[in-house]
């Protein structure tokens, strides 16, 4: 049985592009090709979840039925005349929608590392999309449930495994429009450019850092154990090497997902915007894995702050903001997995955010104390990049190996 995992090797791209060729031609003539793209998507989804992964395929079907039921029922509740828009039904919709993900995330913890049978590749990213839809339906921003568009959005093949996380209303606009021949040519060009940049990132640079060099520096760091906290120069090497690998690997993947989306006429949002030139950690989170951090910002942080301030539960704004950061990054840490290093990674970022906010407030009060010039800007960028690399060393789990194995 043929089983194809998305973007795993160059052969996948050749197959996918050949399959999409008729769609490209139809679109180059200025028409839409929804029906054809749907067939291709279905085949590639099937190849992703067949053979040895068939149980994941079954899980995906069950998951989709659940989300369909929850969102269609909740939309019906919200769009009926004089909908009371109570907190209860909203809460239930969110709980039911995230239930499968919670089960999948916590099963290994309670079941000796065994993964759950209801899990499948991409469950997190699909859940982010569903929950986003429920929140926007509650706000009245999404006004109707359209079965076909809902399924097209939820199961959009190019981004199913790891995002970028699109938003329903944005996706719907792209899906409904008809691009002219010129517009599509332009988008296709951008898409192909992204695919090639993605090749360079993931298959060349990411390969060197992750497959060639990382195991070597890791071995050296393991051999240099014995000092204070087992710290050594090779460990510094592990930190930078892993950070570079993480960036090029995931940015490369994101470029593939964007590129194939573009070929299908959809402008999936980008995930990275030069994260290594961030001037502080707040700036960094606006540039790194953007669709995820914006999701957490819009659907968790801002709603939490809004709720607390509206009901005046806490007076002090600084306290509210800080609690919001802790909440956001703890959830993000737990979402990555229930290991000490993901949780510490979350707490570390929350702490740096809180300190950065305090520093920015201090700087605002004493504007004339601090110069701002090319030197301070370069220093800020270097400090931010190094702080981030340190957090990725925690995230990598290598410290767990170094200290406890």
């Amino acid at each position: 049985m043929i089983n194809l995992q998305p973007y795993e090797n160059p052969g996948y791209f050749i197959l996918l592009m050949v399959a999409l060729l008729p769609a490209i031609i139809i679109r180059l003539y200025g028409h839409r090709s929804h029906w054809y793209e749907t067939v291709v998507s279905f085949i590639f989804l099937f190849l992703m979840f067949d053979g040895k992964d068939w149980h994941q395929g079954v899980a995906l079907i069950g998951y989709t039925i659940l989300q369909y039921a929850v969102i269609s029922l909740y939309t019906r509740y919200r769009t009926k005349e004089k909908s009371p828009n109570k907190f209860g039904p909203f809460c239930w919709a969110v709980i039911l929608s995230i239930a499968p993900l919670v089960v999948v995330k916590f099963t290994p913890l309670f079941n000796n590392g065994q993964s759950s049978i209801i899990g499948f590749l991409g469950i997190s990213y699909l859940t982010f999309k569903s929950v986003g839809m429920i929140m926007e339906t509650r706000d009245g921003a999404i006004k109707e449930f359209h079965p076909v568009k809902f399924l097209q959005f939820l199961l959009f093949m190019p981004t199913i495994s790891s995002g970028p996380i699109d938003r329903y209303r944005r996706f719907e606009k792209d899906y409904d429009r008809t691009l002219t021949s010129e517009q599509y040519t332009d988008l296709l060009g951008k898409g192909i450019e992204r695919l090639f940049l993605g090749f360079a990132y993931k298959f060349i640079i990411g390969y060197f850092f992750g497959t060639m060099w990382l195991p070597q520096v890791q071995r050296m760091a393991m051999q240099s154990r014995g000092g204070f906290l087992d710290l050594s120069w090779p460990l510094v090497g592990v930190m930078y090497c892993y950070s570079a690998y993480l960036f090029f690997d995931f940015a490369g993947y994101s470029l593939f997902a964007m590129g194939i989306s573009n070929v299908m006429g959809v402008e999936t949002p980008r995930n990275f915007n030069y994260p290594w030139i961030s001037r502080n950690i707040k700036d960094f989170w606006n540039r790194w894995h953007m669709t995820l951090s914006f999701w957490f910002r819009d659907y968790i942080y801002m709603r939490f702050v809004f709720f607390i301030m509206k009901h005046r539960l806490i007076k002090n704004r600084v306290t509210i903001a800080n609690l919001g950061y802790l909440l956001l990054f703890l959830i993000m840490g737990i979402w990555h997995g229930e290991t000490w290093y993901y949780i510490v990674y979350g707490i570390f970022h929350a702490t740096v955010m809180i300190l950065t906010d305090a520093w920015l407030r201090f700087k605002k009060k004493h504007k004339d104390w601090f110069p701002s010039n090319a030197f301070t800007r370069v220093m800020a960028i270097l400090m931010t990049a190094n702080t981030v690399c340190f957090s990725f060393l925690i995230f990598s789990g290598f410290l767990d190996r170094l200290w406890f194995h």
């Binding site: 929140m135 926007e136 009245g140 921003a141 910002r297 819009d298 809004f306 919001g324 605002k364």
Partner: protein, 82 residues
Amino acid sequence: MADDNTKNTVLDILSDLTGSDEVKDNLDTNLFTTGLLDSMGTVQLLLELQSQLDVNVPVSEFDRTQWDTPNKIIAKVEQMQQ
């Protein structure tokens, strides 16, 4: 003069939130790239618009790219008042 009133109220809210008169001097300042406003400030802005101008903006409708300068915010608020 209803429009002027809206404009002044929005600008007062913004200068209050950002702690700077920059927003009144240049109505096309980008509030987010300059760091004048962040998510916390955004929520405060939405709550102030609600209490002072009776304009209800749900978090879902707040797309940063459409609300990133004083001018754009004034235009949005005026549009929602009609």
